[in-house]
Symmetry: C2
Subunit: 339 residues, 2 copies
């Protein structure tokens, strides 16, 4: 605890394991439901609704983020958002995180503490706290975040398997922005000489996804039949829903938001002399249809549903199998495959 | 799913992410409490007792195990046991695991599936199932296991903070065996030429710890005032209890089990010509007092308690602070410090 007050400029090895844990814990918000929090063998949470929703996701340096692009804060937000979005995608309310953090000895302590601040900020946006974790040494930064949540009593989780022919498909949150932000970063934005100003918020959308947590329980209340978070890319994720529900899903491109800021990013990335309007539209469409990591929510609803304004209807559920775009297979269909 | 039937001899990259997940899932036992298991965004568990107990631990190649010493099965048992023991140490009953597994592309698929079998076997020993997880690529094998459990309705968790002066200290499960097993492995057992037969079970105790899960809820029922699992080493872990409870703890060495098989390991490791009886006893004592990773349970109880036979009384709680051995500071006191 002696190190807790002034970790700045220290390396992790000088801070020590217990100094690091104390400094991390000091940045994390508590969870209202926790009767035992950080510091014991396990955390204990009250579950008055009689259920617990749980998901775990890795955030691995070199795979899911680069320290050259992401601050510790960015990585913390992303690590928390990836797992918290999985809770919302069940129609549940996030309550708590367990944070396992492995870091190199050489990592500046401040980077690890910024990561804790990013996790804390995203937790607070989701209404959750941090109740426990683990620390270890590794050759690169590895974060494993377990998110816990709860369903209102008597309400079933919204699984991938409930979509029915005749349902509509709707999305809450942006699509393609993370992929466009990654394309900008890969091309050298925002730092390369002569770079045009970065289109608003796309790099931030890649570095710090902002899942619409409230839309998860809202979708459940509106009668959603299936739901998923768009982590692998819209078509890949709708493919999981189609497979689990034994239905076909068709996406209507005219219903998708392909305008600013995605068009501005395409303008910035593709010099005007090389520009072909159809090719640019195709590129934007590929961000929206196959770009991962937006962590928006895609859900199916009975056709008579009256949706809230931030849900955008983008497709329909039919009898059959697979995912089509405007009634036809999508040639560049795909998503993340981790192996 | 096409790969699920015959993963033997395949590399993970040929199995594919979804093939790996399907093959892992096929080896994992389900959790009785799960209403949604592997395959959706999150798992959902019923918590009829109104609480959930949760802990996460890393198992990292090169840090917590070596592939030269540990089979995939060994690593799986250890990864599961580390987290499950944390649930038992609260007096709780393990119910479910979430398994996040990052592996190199070059890892044989069979190694990863053996790891799943080890996790499955330890889950079944603890009465838990696997309800979810994540997979990713990394340069070495990294497992992050989140364990969930439950406390009987109305029963409080046994925290580190409840020990009171006058309590007794007792341990369920072995002490020092994991450390002795590690010493044997480090010295070349069981494979180096001319090695004496390995003393019974010590290498196995290091590679595949076997926490006494049932002893956790049993201790709670017997009125335990504080409890911890011996992951960092007995003195370090009792130090956590002493600090959290604001008490002093004294360990009585004459109450510790220093006999076979630890004595046999010391005989095997220290050639008789060099052997000094006091030095050997000191070495054995250091395994028992400071060796980590036994994942036995150490608890404090009111002095009038009538313990079950597998609890061994090894010390007393007094007013004050810190941990002593036979009333004096222990010179080699220490344990694991991860940074």
């Amino acid at each position: 605890m002696a190190n807790q007050g002034s970790p700045h400029g220290q390396s992790l090895s000088s801070l020590g394991e217990f100094g690091l844990i104390a400094a991390l814990a000091a940045r994390f918000p508590p969870a209202p439901a926790a009767t035992v929090g950080i510091g014991d063998d396990s955390a204990v949470l009250a579950t008055p609704d009689g259920n617990v929703v749980a998901a775990v996701d890795f955030l691995i340096e070199g795979r899911h983020f680069r320290r050259a692009w992401s601050s510790g804060y960015d990585a913390g937000v992303k690590a928390a958002a990836r797992s918290l979005a999985d809770i919302a995608a069940m129609g549940a309310v996030p309550t708590a995180l367990l944070v396992a953090l492995a870091v190199p000895d050489s990592l500046p302590a401040e980077w690890a503490l910024d990561l804790a601040s990013g996790i804390a900020a995203e937790c607070e946006r989701a209404g959750a706290g941090v109740v426990g974790g683990d620390t270890a040494r590794a050759d690169s930064v590895i974060v494993s975040v377990t998110a816990l949540g709860s369903l209102p009593a008597g309400r079933a989780a919204i699984c991938r398997s409930g979509a029915r022919p005749g349902d509509i498909v709707a999305v809450a949150g942006p699509l393609g922005r993370s992929a466009a932000g990654l394309a900008l970063l890969t091309a050298g934005w925002p730092d390369h000489p002569g770079a045009a100003p970065v289109p608003g918020g796309l790099v931030a959308a890649h570095l710090r996804p902002a899942p619409p947590y409230d839309a998860g329980p809202e979708a459940a209340a509106l009668g959603a039949t299936a739901m998923i978070d768009t982590s692998d890319g819209l078509l890949a994720d709708l493919g999981h829903v189609a497979q689990a529900s034994d239905v076909a899903i068709d996406v209507t491109t005219s219903a998708l938001d392909l305008g600013d800021p995605l068009a501005a990013a395409a303008d910035a990335l593709f010099p005007r002399t090389d520009r072909d309007s159809a090719a640019t539209t195709k590129k934007i469409l590929s961000w929206v249809l196959t770009g991962g990591e937006d962590h928006s929510l895609a859900a199916t609803f009975p056709p008579a549903v009256s949706l809230a304004p931030h849900w955008r209807v983008i497709g329909t559920v039919r009898a059959g199998s697979g995912v089509t775009v405007d009634g036809a297979p999508y040639e560049a269909q795909g998503g993340w495959a981790h192996f």
